[in-house]
Amino acid sequence: MFEIDIFTKEGFKDSRGEHVLSDILGIGIKGVKKVDYSPFYIIDGDINKSEAKTIASELLSDKITEGFKVGFGTQEKKSKNPIIEVLYKKGVTDTVSESVAKAIKDLGITKDVKVKTGHKYYLHGNASQDVLNKIAVKLLANTLVQEYKIK
């Protein structure tokens, strides 16, 4: 199982992160200074690391504005700051995962893979555990269909 994390390269605008930050300020939470947004993909199947890297570079990341990190199991970009991770609950339709699985086949990697997609938000600044939970529940995840972890 590989986890591929995508992040915005230095010098490019992270519109989604900025939008989340303004939403956080919008619900009256102070202390958070910056949010970095990072989508991630969990690829489960009989593929090797070089194939995973191909998937990351050719498919999941943008060659100009984004970088990626491929690792076994789950992982984060090194961060002292808290991360809120959001994933769909089991059984909830994840439409992106189906497209990724199709695109991997188009790349010429014909092995069957299962894909899960998720979102990570790296928060900079000060936020207590309570505040992080509030941000997760009020803005980032709908706990009816998604689950979140604070790391």
Partner: protein
């Protein structure tokens, strides 16, 4: 019928009343005691207990969402006016009001009304246009994004499933939300904040509608605290269909083909859920997530199959899933279905779950055996899954099999007609309305009030929402939801016009879409709310150039708990208004839907929503180019107000801003209004009108200001010249919300021809377009002068919603 079939037998034959109620509650069946007691004798006759598949099938088929049993049931209505009581019994409310008017009007150009998934009227000699509006309220409260997305996805499937399938041309959306500025602490426990709901709902409609390639061209948003925990999400779709594809008929022996998405546990009990009140513990599996691309593929392929005549009937899987779709198609023939053949998203579903799942993006077709191979190949070519799951029989029974075993076997007649008719009392005490004390305001106060009205949540620009929708995809939106005289400034269009040139080669015709909604009138008087909504929808359409003789209406009632007599009574009143107005305007209803039980509990106390009747209007225009927009066009042109301004302030934006309690809710005068509407169509087609705007929320002051800033122009209006009934103060004239009024701009050279057309109507020249870009309202009689830069008014209107 044991384990190997994964289905259980449910003991009901020997249950007491209390046990029957418990059983219904425990299994989320939403069946009443009366209904449970009608199930008992049927199975007693069969000398066996039902299976879980059978009981779930009955619950779905008899659900409020599928059967609309409240309004098709018996209603004993009492009306009290000035302490005089009148009584009337309805055996089927809508049939005796809305539908009755349509039957009596009996328009030749109504091609299919109240029987299929959408209403269809004639477009031209070869084509019809279909229109349907649905609600998706409860799911949107819990999961705003998924809820609204599946709402729009569902109504698009209604259009795909009308006749043998129509091609969608436009979407509409109307929302009611709580106040987005509500303090966090005032949001009920376990509910999302109204702003989050609003953003999520808009995003859901955006992502689904945009991906489907259907422009969302018309809508409205209404904010009121009463919708905080129970938002309303109305989604509509209009489509075009060849006249020879309107009829469908299932033959015995036709194969049942399921096409599109796979079946999972999505939305199980969604149909029954729609008639349960919302509270913190609402059933979570009722939430569905849609996949618009799957539906887009179904759309692309099924219209090809339609044109090759590969199937005889089609319907969509909506509430109740396969059970409703196949049950409906096979009502007259009977059907056998092999549930193990239904393609699943994942393992582990038991037969009843497969049968009632509301997984999205599925359509059911009746295919003659000879086309078996061709139709599947056609779908396969574009990667659309299509699987035969059974066939229509001639035994008039519903038979379900799983792994070779029969898991359900019931008569279609019992399923469709076995439901007992409930009886409900309804009462309505008509409140006496009285004119408020004269509203006196200084010029400064009027200026301030005008800006407050323009920035009011229910008047302000909805640009933030509208621009997120691709309202121009397909290239056919020739009167757009936002209108200006160039591409930079834009004001609120009254209606949209679709010019279907890519679907109908060489056509000149257009389709106009508009709506009317005003719950604030309904808080006082639901009859007037309904009448006003009907007139507003017509006014909006007429303002862009619709032919009022070629209009049709859709009703969508969203009401509270109908078990409360006064709530049901207010609905009866509104339904009566629909009948009266439909007859008086000579305009038929062609389709409708109701959503009842919009009730929620906070801290154990139950609240019903403010009743909301959305009226959607669709009309066919002979020449799509003969349409106008609302921005003022040229300096020196004359401004006329058509219609009479009355002292009607109750429920108005002014009443809200100034907290005025008394007043009269606007009345509709159909005879007066229709004359004006007919003449506007004539004047527009003779090229006599440069711009036209409907006058509604916020009255003349708001409507005229909107025309000015949308056109980046100035305007000077003489308040004393406006025709009124009775004596009104300047504030009352400017902000009264009387029905039947339009503001039009006329070139001086056209004035005499224009006056000639309207000579039998009440109207007056009230001012002119000026080059100084100031909006001025003046009354020498009352020594009033309101003067504001039109750019400043634009700012007030534009800046309320920007998230």
């Amino acid at each position: 019928m044991k384990n190997k079939t994964s289905c259980r037998t449910i003991e009901i034959l020997n249950l007491s009343d209390k046990e029957l109620i418990d059983l219904s509650a425990k299994n989320v069946l939403s069946l009443s005691l009366d209904e449970m007691k009608s199930v008992q004798p049927y199975f007693r006759k069969l000398k066996r207990n039902p299976t879980d598949v059978e009981i779930e099938t009955i619950a779905q088929t008899w659900s409020e969402h599928c059967k609309h049993k409240t309004l098709t049931g018996i209603i004993e209505y009492t009306e009290e006016k000035y302490s005089k009581k009148t009584k009337r019994t309805y055996n089927n409310l809508l049939k005796e009001t809305v539908f009755k008017a349509t039957m009596e009007l009996n328009k030749k150009w109504c091609l299919s009304v109240f029987k299929d998934n959408a209403g269809i009227i004639e477009f031209d000699a070869k084509n019809g246009v279909a229109f349907k509006v649905e609600t998706h309220n409860h799911p949107s409260a819990l999961e705003p994004y998924g809820g609204s997305a599946t709402g729009i996805g569902g109504v698009i499937r209604d259009i795909l499933g009308v006749g043998l399938g129509a091609k969608p041309l436009a979407n509409t959306d109307v929302f009611c939300f709580g106040n987005p500025d509500t303090k966090d602490s005032q949001v009920p426990e376990g509910m999302h904040h109204p702003k989050r709901i609003a953003k999520g709902v808009v995003a859901g409609v955006r992502d689904y509608g945009n991906r489907m390639g259907i422009p969302t061209v018309n809508g409205a948003v209404y904010f009121d605290d009463g919708y905080m925990a129970n938002p309303l999400v109305y989604c509509g779709t209009m489509g075009i269909i060849p006249k020879n594809k309107i009829d469908k008929k299932v033959n015995s022996g036709d194969l049942i083909l399921v096409v599109g998405g796979r079946t999972g546990r999505d939305g199980i009990h969604g149909a029954t859920f729609s008639s349960i009140q919302l509270d913190q513990e609402s059933d979570v599996s009722a939430v569905q997530i849609g996949n618009p691309i799957v539906e887009k593929k179904v759309l692309d392929t099924m219209l090809k199959a339609r044109d090759l005549n590969l199937y005889r009937a089609v319907t969509d899987c909506g509430a109740g899933g396969l059970s409703s779709a196949i049950g409906e198609l096979g009502e007259k023939t009977g059907a056998i279905v092999y549930l193990d053949k239904v393609p699943l998203k994942y393992d582990g579903l038991v037969p009843w779950e497969i049968w009632i799942s509301e997984a999205q993006e599925r359509m059911v077709f009746a295919v003659p055996p000879k086309n078996k191979k061709r139709i599947v190949e056609l779908f396969k070519k574009e990667n659309v899954e299509a699987v035969f799951v059974g066939e229509f029989t001639k035994d008039k029974k519903l038979t379900l099999k799983y792994n070779g075993h029969v898991v359900a076997s019931m008569d279609m007649s019992f399923l469709h007609d076995g439901i007992p008719k409930p009886k409900r009392p309804a009462v309505c005490k008509i409140k006496e309305e009285k004119v408020q004390k004269p509203i006196k305001m200084t010029s400064a106060d009027l200026s301030k009030t005008l800006k407050s009205a323009l920035s009011d949540l229910n008047v302000c620009s909805k640009e933030w929402i509208i621009r997120q929708y691709d309202h121009e995809v397909q290239g056919q939106t020739i009167v757009k939801p936002l209108q200006g005289t160039d591409i930079e400034v834009s004001g609120p269009g009254d209606a949209s016009v679709i010019f279907p040139y890519t679907s109908v080669n060489g056509t000149k015709k257009g389709v106009v879409l508009s709506n009317g909604l005003n719950p604030s009138y309904g808080k006082i008087n639901t009859y007037k709310m309904a009448a006003s909504a009907i007139e507003e929808s017509l006014r909006n359409a007429v303002a862009v150039g619709a032919d009022v003789e070629k209009m049709s209406l859709l009703d969508n009632f969203c009401w509270g708990n109908p078990n409360k007599p006064e709530i049901l009574g207010s609905l009866v009143r509104a339904a009566n208004a629909c009948y009266d107005m439909s007859k008086a305007f000579d305009i038929p209803f062609i389709s409708g839907k109701d959503s009842l039980h919009n009730e929620y509990s906070i801290g154990g106390k139950k609240y019903s929503i403010p009743p909301a009747l959305l009226i959607s209007a669709m009309g066919v225009i002979e020449n799509a180019a003969n349409t106008v927009t609302m921005p003022l066009k040229n300096d020196g042109n004359k401004i006329f107000v058509l219609g009479v301004t009355r002292n009607e302030i109750a429920g108005s934006v002014l009443a809200k801003i100034k907290n005025i309690k008394d007043g009269i809710v606007p009345v509709v005068y159909p005879k007066e209004s229709k004359e004006v509407m007919k003449r506007i169509y004539k004047a527009i087609n003779n090229g006599l009108i440069e711009s036209c705007h409907d006058c509604s929320e916020g009255g003349l002051a708001v409507a005229i200001s909107e025309m000015a800033f949308a056109g980046d122009k100035g305007v000077k209006v003489d308040i004393d010249a406006i025709r009124t009934k009775g004596k009104l103060s300047a504030a009352e004239i400017l902000f009264s919300e009387s029905n039947g009024r339009f503001i039009v701009e006329v070139i001086p050279e056209n004035e005499s021809k224009f006056r000639e057309i309207f000579k039998s109507c009440v109207f007056a020249e009230v001012g002119c377009v000026t080059e100084d870009k100031y909006v001025i309202f003046e009354s020498t009689k009352n020594k009033i002068k309101v003067k504001e830069k039109s750019r400043n008014l634009l700012k007030a209107w534009r800046n309320t919603i920007s998230w």
